[in-house]
């Protein structure tokens, strides 16, 4: 376990080097957040929805703050797959799956913390109706954090599946574009899932994409009551097991069938 933890720490440290990128991300996500909120405010002025506006605003800010957890890939790994360098990692006495899992986890976690902390501070300073609201309660906040952690584990496992498929297709663009579309739609990043029709929500909330941010945000805002938290964690846990299982299988198969030509 130690080697994977060291890998995690090293990638974590490396992520702190990219503060410029983080600043750019903050500005981009802040602007996105403000635009989305303006849109919802306009919508509510004409036609108020069942969800209170303040809950939507909070939802948008949390989505924007942790955007990097949602959409980010290990560029090093994609490069290595493209050039064949991934094969050389097999000369290390590690499980490649675990090694890259640790890396993507560090990257998503540190990358989003660097962005989320300043963003949430800024968002809480905004005037009423524009800024992020406080969590429903302290236990709700703690449970939301737990849900976020579990969701992150799910996302990293999903990312490893994408990479496992990329190893076979060599180029990641097509498949990832499709995945990103599903991701931004069904994670609630573009349109909060809470605004989807109720019938849709029943299905969409069970999908893996909803596990990273939608599930913990609902805990945060109190939309999911505390006593249902166990149910949320169970769904997340099930997806995590499924994803890790598929990912491990894919990577194992790939490493056996690895082909590297030339040099």
């Amino acid at each position: 376990m130690r080697k994977y933890f060291s890998t995690f720490l090293m990638r974590w440290k490396m992520e702190t080097q990219y503060r410029g990128a983080a600043l750019g991300g903050i500005i981009c996500q802040m602007v996105f957040g403000l635009i989305l909120i303006s849109v919802y405010r306009a919508l509510y002025m004409g036609n108020p929805q069942s969800m209170p506006l303040s809950a939507i605003v909070t939802y948008v800010w949390l989505q924007q703050a942790f955007f990097r957890m949602l959409l980010s890939s290990d560029n090093d790994l994609m490069d290595k797959i493209r050039t064949g360098g991934i094969a050389y990692e097999m000369c290390r006495p590690v499980s490649l799956y675990g090694y890259y899992y640790a890396r993507i986890m560090a990257m998503k976690l540190m990358g989003s913390l660097l962005r989320a902390v300043p963003m949430l501070v800024l968002a809480s300073l905004l005037p009423e109706g524009w800024g992020i609201g406080a969590p429903a309660s302290v236990p709700a906040l703690l449970l939301a954090l737990m849900g976020l952690a579990l969701g992150l584990f799910c996302m990293c496992a999903l990312e490893n599946i994408t990479m496992g498929i990329t190893m076979r297709t060599i180029d990641f663009k097509g498949f990832q574009a499709l995945l990103n579309l599903l991701m931004t739609t069904f994670s609630g990043n573009i349109l909060p899932l809470t605004l989807f029709p109720d019938a849709w929500q029943r299905v969409v909330r069970l999908l893996p994409y909803a596990q990273l941010l939608d599930a913990p945000i609902r805990l945060y805002t109190g939309e999911t009551p505390l006593h249902q938290a166990g149910q949320v964690f169970l769904i997340q846990g099930i997806w995590l097991c499924i994803f890790v299982g598929i990912g491990l299988y894919l990577w194992k198969r790939n490493t056996r069938k690895m082909i590297v030509q030339g040099g």
Partner: protein
């Protein structure tokens, strides 16, 4: 029981070609990268592995380092099969690929080394000692805090070598380690490798196109071509088979009369210089010299044996590679 045993190893790759016009399916061709290759290596040997591009050298190194699975055949390194016991096997080997960097690109190399320490489970004390020793020998002391991306090629290669030896592997694979290095760096690297081989008894398998590397480091060479093993033995012996020609450059005061030269030698004119290539086995050098002296008053003369690269080129040609 030898340290490395390779028996009847086969590996082929399928290469898909561009679809020709009017055809529905792409054509595939199969490249036999290794065909029935067998050899043994004992612990502590320093072996050179040569052959033209595409001969299968890298493929065999990749198989022995656990990256590729062969189609058929058996290989064992220290009793382990590289591709099935990968994780245990790679614990005892070090690999440097001249074309690929294995250390982390963006972080100071010392951080990469510390990570390697955990990955290979090296004890703290042993790690510190080994790091001290390697950074000393490879002149890396001042570079430890520098990320790989800020280093020159020679520095990177030394840093990679250090990284591959931190866990004191029993076997070291070097795939073109001197590619692109300047003369000083090359010499240093060779000196270091010899020392490592002698003092630690590390077995080294060296793949290279630089014949001077081989001449300086290896007693034993293996020649691979078209995926087959063509030679396995001492380097001087291999060279003596092809080292049959000598070249003499001469310049005369006045145009000479070289008509008396026998037909078995070749004559080329390069400005005022005459270049004569002959085989000492057919015309003894002393006869050759007296013939040249009779042809006119010599201004200057140099005699050369053939350059190793030319010999190898000739060998490849004669082996039809």
């Amino acid at each position: 029981m030898h340290f490395i045993e390779v028996e009847h190893l086969n590996k082929s790759f399928t290469v898909r070609k561009k679809r020709e016009k009017g055809r529905f399916l792409r054509e595939k061709s199969i490249i036999h990268a290794l065909q029935d290759v067998s050899f043994h290596v004992d612990e502590g040997e320093l072996i050179g592995y040569i052959g033209p591009n595409g001969a299968g050298k890298s493929t065999s190194v990749k198989i022995l380092s656990g990256i590729l699975t062969p189609d058929s055949g058996r290989a064992s390194v220290g009793g382990l099969t590289p591709w099935t016991d990968r994780k245990t096997h790679v614990q005892h080997i070090g690999v440097v690929f001249g074309q690929r960097m294995q250390l982390w690109w963006d972080v100071p190399i010392i951080d990469s080394y510390r990570l390697l320490k955990d990955i290979y489970k090296v004890q703290k004390g042993a790690f510190e000692n080994r790091l001290e020793e390697l950074t000393d020998a490879l002149d890396l002391k001042n570079l430890l805090a520098t990320p790989l991306r800020l280093m020159s090629l020679g520095q990177r290669m030394r840093a990679e070598l250090c990284g591959s030896l931190l866990h004191s592997p029993r076997l070291l694979f070097l795939d073109e380690p001197t590619i692109g290095l300047d003369a000083v760096s090359k010499l240093k690297l060779r000196e270091f490798l010899l020392k490592e081989n002698r003092e630690k008894g590390t077995t080294v398998l060296l793949t290279t196109h630089d014949m001077e590397d081989i001449a300086a480091l290896c007693q034993r060479v293996m020649v691979l071509g078209h995926g087959k093993k063509l030679y396995d033995g001492q380097l001087p012996e291999l060279l003596s088979r092809y080292d049959t020609q000598r070249t003499i450059h001469v310049r005369y005061d006045a145009p000479p009369d070289l008509s008396s030269l026998p037909e078995s030698c070749t004559l080329q004119k390069d400005g005022d210089n005459f270049i004569i290539t002959y085989e000492p086995a057919r015309i003894p050098t002393s006869d050759m010299l007296s013939l040249l002296q009779k042809a006119g008053a010599m201004q200057e003369m140099t005699a050369q044996s053939q350059n190793v690269d030319l010999l190898i080129a000739r060998m490849y040609r004669e082996m039809d590679l």
